[in-house]
Every structure is written in structure tokens, then in C-alpha cells.
Amino acid sequence: MTTTTTPPATGTTTAAGPAPQPSRRTGAVARWLRHGGLSTLVFFLPLLLCFGLFSWWPIARSLLLSLQQTNFLTSRWVGLANFERVLADPLLLTALGNTTWFTVLALVIGFPVPVVLAVLIAELRRARAIASVLVYLPVVFPPVVAVLLWKTFYAPGAEGLFNTVLGWVGLGPFAWLNNGDMAMPAIVVQATWATFGTATIIYLATLMGIQTELYEAAETDGAGIWSRLWNVTLPQMRGVMLVMALLQIIGTFQVFTEPYVMTGGGPENRTLTLLMLIYRYAFVAGDYGRATALSLLLALVLAVLSAVYLWVTRRWSTS
């Protein structure tokens, strides 16, 4: 009976004569296995499958769909025709303008609110936890429920909640969502209410992490409350604020639920956003080629924003 033994990886020879040299690849595999490569792969595999199936494959499929005309039974390559049709749609500029307007308003109205709230809560000596819970409460609301609730508040008649309250001081009634100029700001206020809790908690955590010595030193130097805020608090928070601002821009550029539920894009397309246009292409017109083409264009814009985000944050972190 003959037996075979695996030659040592070091390449030593046996008494029986020179053993065949292990190939470089076999050695690498053995080394990989010895260093726990297999277990790494086993742990990595579910992640790989999940991302592959639910993220990367849909992205690749979108890319393919954007170059095709399909009814999901047969597909035809159409080159860049879908992109041309998207760019020729007069509603694209309307939707882009509205989305940009929403983003700007969300930044102007929505960005300072959590910063101010976080600073105020941080100053509380008591009931800070309760204040944090109360501030975070709107985030717990299911988004559609919250949007429908606000839609009721914005009822345009004199009996609407906001109009009733404003009526006590002789204001209104306002048309709110029914008015082309007021609709988008009204949606931004709702969206701010729904999301400011998360940002406040993040800012609060940052504030709690600022070394008290800095404030003590500032006080010793005679700094008042505004001076401390301006010279200590805000500089310490600026990194987080920048990240939050850019994440907010990326998030708000993809706004859909609020205008879809509150106004359906009206009045007169004044709240029609890019994602709503994508939705219309796909589910109203059944044109997935155009829908994926616009999705990719939006992704491209967001990728550019992300690049700016990375560039700016690196610059800030080293300054």
C-alpha cells in the first residue's frame, strides 16, 4: 500500500527523494486557509449575497434598462434614446427646479432648527432626557401617517387647524397646499418637523462631547454666553454640521413621500419633484426605460454632490 503525504508548505524534501514543489497558487490558498480565510468568506457571504441581490444587481439592471425599451417580456436596445426623451421632457426642468427649491428651503428652514434645539437642550440642567425624547418623538411617527396628519392641519378652509389657530389672531384663512407659492414651503415645514429629531440628537451628542475645559477657559477669559457659543460651541460642531448639511442635501434631493401624499405634485406641478417624475414614468406611463434613465441621471448628480462632500470634509478636517 502506498500512501501519499502532502509536502510541507516550506518546500522541504522527504527521504524518498525530491518532492514536487508546491505551486505558488497552492501555497497562497493554503496560507489563506490557515489565516482564517474560509471563515472570513463564510461570514462575508451573507453580506455579499444581500448587497449583490438587493443593491448591486438592481443597480446594474437599472443601467441595462436605461438603454432598453422593455415590456419585461422582450427588450430592445435603444442606445441613449431614453436619456434623450427624458431631457426633452418639459417637466424635467420643472421637477429639477422644484427639487432644488425644496432642497434650498429645507436647508434654510430645516438646518438651523436642530442646531438651536440641541444647544438649548444642552443648556438644560434638568429634564434633558425628557426634552430629548420629546424632540425625537416625531421621528417615531410612520412617515405617511405624519404626512396625512399635516395634510389635515393644512386644510384650506377656515375650519382647518392652522387656519383656525391663525384666525384667533386675525390672520388667514390661507390656502396652504392649494396655493402654488405656499405649497412647497408648507411641505418643507412638515418635512422639517418629521426629521429634525434625529439631527438634534446627533448635535446633542456632539455637544456633550465638547471638553468642559474649553468653556472654563473661555469663561476665565471673560467670554459671555454668545461669545462661548460662537468661539467654542460652533467651531467644535462644524465638522458634524457640515456632514449633516451635505447628507441633508442628498436626502432632500430624493424627496418623494411628502409631496406625493400631500399634493400629488400640484398645484400646477409646483411640487412635482424628480422622484415623483420617475414614479410617473414607471407606474403611470409604464415606461421603465425613461424611469431608469432619469434615476441614473439623478444618481449622477448625487454622486457629484457626494464627491464634493468628501472633498470638503477632508479639507475641513485638515484645516
Binding site: 390656502a175 392649494n178 399634493t263 405634485g265 400640484g266 400646477e268 407606474f283 409604464g286 421603465y288
Partner: protein
Amino acid sequence: MTTHRHRLLGATALALSGALLLAGCNSGQQDTAAEVDTEAPVTISVSNKPTAESPEELASFERRLEQFTTEHPNITVEAEETEFEPDTFQALLAGGQLPTVFLVPFTEMQGLIARQQVADVTDYLGPHEVLQSINPSVNEVVKGDDGGTYGVPTNAYSMGLIYNRALFEQAGLDPDAPPTDWEGVREAARAIEEGTDAQGFATMTTENGGGWVLTTTSYGFGGLMQSEDGTQATVDNEATKEVLQTYREMRFTDDTFGDNFLMNYDDINNAFAAGQIGMYVQGADQYSTMVTTKGMDPEHFGVGPLPQTEDGLGTLGGGTVAIVNPTATPEEITAAMAWIDHYYFQRYSDEEVARADAEASVADGLSVGVPALPLLDQEADDRYLGWIEDQINVPRENYTAYLESTRTLPLVPEPPVKAQELYATLDPVVQAVLTREDADIDALLAEAQSTVQSAIELG
């Protein structure tokens, strides 16, 4: 030598491709309805199985299913509760999960036919006499440009004037005499506004509803939104201008249009069921939604024919169509047609089935005898209603005018090309007229005309 071999391979490949192509063509030709083995075992899936929330309907469905499989032992039917949703239809199709027989609304048919997402069943109607005798004006919705038939309507209604009979009475109006022209609608709206807490009139304005109702109402004023062949948009027409002018006067002169002009299908139905709206244009099938789903008093629900001007063309139809999965084999299509005949039409030929179905619906608290268009001819409809007379729980005597109109008022088809995009384009037009007193109707329609024409030409 190599070149020669490549040429040889190329020629062989070409010949093989040609042969395969021909074989493909031939096999396609052979697989017609006439060649189908109707005795071969086949499995089909069907949608809209009643849910456990309607136990009697479910029991009735299962009885009918059992009866079907007894009569067709080679056909296995797998029933699913799946229902049509605009957001999931494409996913079902793409994922190969679309049931063999699937119910879709009338409004989807034209898009499905244009995108070739539905099977052509023309050649499979032969053995089913009842499926060939469907009311021609209703059946128009399943016809393609090529003259083919792409489905079977299973119920149909026409758009009409929905009104609240209780509010009519409160306002001193006769609930049995709904307005038949738009001057009458305006007068009734003013009376409701003055005599009740409700608003006189309303219309949907979002999610394509505004355009859909504007199109319907334009038919009543004598205007079409597209040429008959669908190549020309005719949105910018006199009738539609008149409709919008009427809207404007009701909104700003009469002040009978309320103050919310962002209403989708659910918003307006909820408001009507709650007694907040006097009248609106919608399908007569709203009875079930209002009474069964939203708890409205059956005696409060009223429906009249769509008001017409002297030039009025008629009204738009609505309803449900049973389509067949476009990937179905000829055997599956044959089995699907047998199921559709059995499940949706046997009630018109079999009194026992008609009565059992009606009894099950009544037991589940559903409405029986809802005002609708005759699916077949008037005689078949009357016979069916006679069989289930003692089960009818809908006060049909309240809808005399509407029911009479189903025999006389012409049914005008939907715009033949890109109807949903057309409706979406018209939503902002309606919103503009209702929210801005200075809205330029001519300019709005001219712009909409250009947008719709571009959409038609883009293909």
C-alpha cells in the same frame, strides 16, 4: 483552409439560423387555438380569489371552482388573492408571477395592449358563444388597433353624476330628478351650498383624476381629446374650454366648488361619503365603495346620467377586464377562456349559479344589483336581474334615470393613445382654473395640446 472552414461554419450557422427562424415561425403558426389539445392536462392560476374576510363569497368561489374542475378534469386552477395595483403589475410580469387570468381596470387596457403586455385571445373565443356576444360598446375597450381582442370585460359601468340624495332633499331639490344639463348642475350646486353645510360640487384634481373627469365631462360637452386614430391630440377644443369655463364660474362666481383643489380618488370619495359634497362626476359603481366600504346610507347615494349639452357625445365607460398573461401557452389561454366563461358569465345562463352567487354576496354584506351597464345585451341583463330579484339589496328604483341612460347614452371610448399621460397633463390645467381666477384657459389648453402631441409623437 482556415478561411474556407470559417466560411463553411458561417454558412452552416446561417442555414441553421434560417431553419430555426422558420421553425420558430412555423411553430408559432401551429400553436393556434385550432391546434390546441383541449384534453391535455394544464394548470392555470387566477387572481382575485375572495379573501377570508368574505367567507360566503370565498365558499361560493370554491364551490364554483370545484364545479369547474369537475367539468374540466384536465384543468388545474390555482387561485390567488392577488389583485391589480399599478405599482406591482410590472413587477408581477417581470418576475413571472402574473396569474394566467388577471383582472385589470378599463383604464389600463389601452396601455397594456400598446406595450404588448397582454395575450391576444381573438382566436380562443370560438368555443365560447357568450364571450362573443358582449355588449359591443363595452367590448371596445379590449380591442387593439389590429382589430384583435385582448381580454374579456367582466363588469362595466358608465361615468355619471353622483349626488347625495339626502343633501338634495335638504336643499329643496327633487332627489329623483338629478340635473341633466350643466346649468341644472350649477343651480343644484347653489341650492346645496345655500341650504346645507355641504359644498355643492367637486372634482378630482390629482393622480390623473382631474384629467380623467375633464375628458369625461368634455364628452358631455361634445369634445374629444384625440383624433379617433390617436395620431392627433385635440385637447385644445371648444368643448373642453366650455367645461373649464363652467368650472371657473362654479368656483369663483357661484362659490360652490369648496376650497380644496388637490383631491385624489380617495379624498373625494371620503368627502362624499361623509356628506361634505353634493355632486361630482364618477363611475356609477361607486355605490359599493360608498355603501359597503364607507358605510354611507344606501338611500343617500344617488347617480344620474352624465349631463349633456346639445352637442354632447355621450359618456366614458369604466369597469374590469379579465386579461390573460402574455406568456401563457395556447393550452393555458384555452383553459383561461373556459374559466372566464364559467366564473364570470355562467350567471347569465344558469339561474342556480346566479342565485347562489347573489346569496353569498348578500350573506357577506356586499351589494347586489349595483347600477351598471349591461355586460351582454339588455335581455340577458334583465333575465339575470329577474333571477336574483329577491336578493337585490340596492335601491335600484333610485337610479331610474341612470339605468335608462345605459340604454340610450352612447359610450365614448378613452383617448386611444397614452390616455394616462394625457390625463396627467390635464391635472395641472384643472388645478390652475380652480386655484387662480386669472388662469388663461386658452394658454393652458394650448400648452397641454403641445405636451400631449409631443408625447404621442415620441411613441
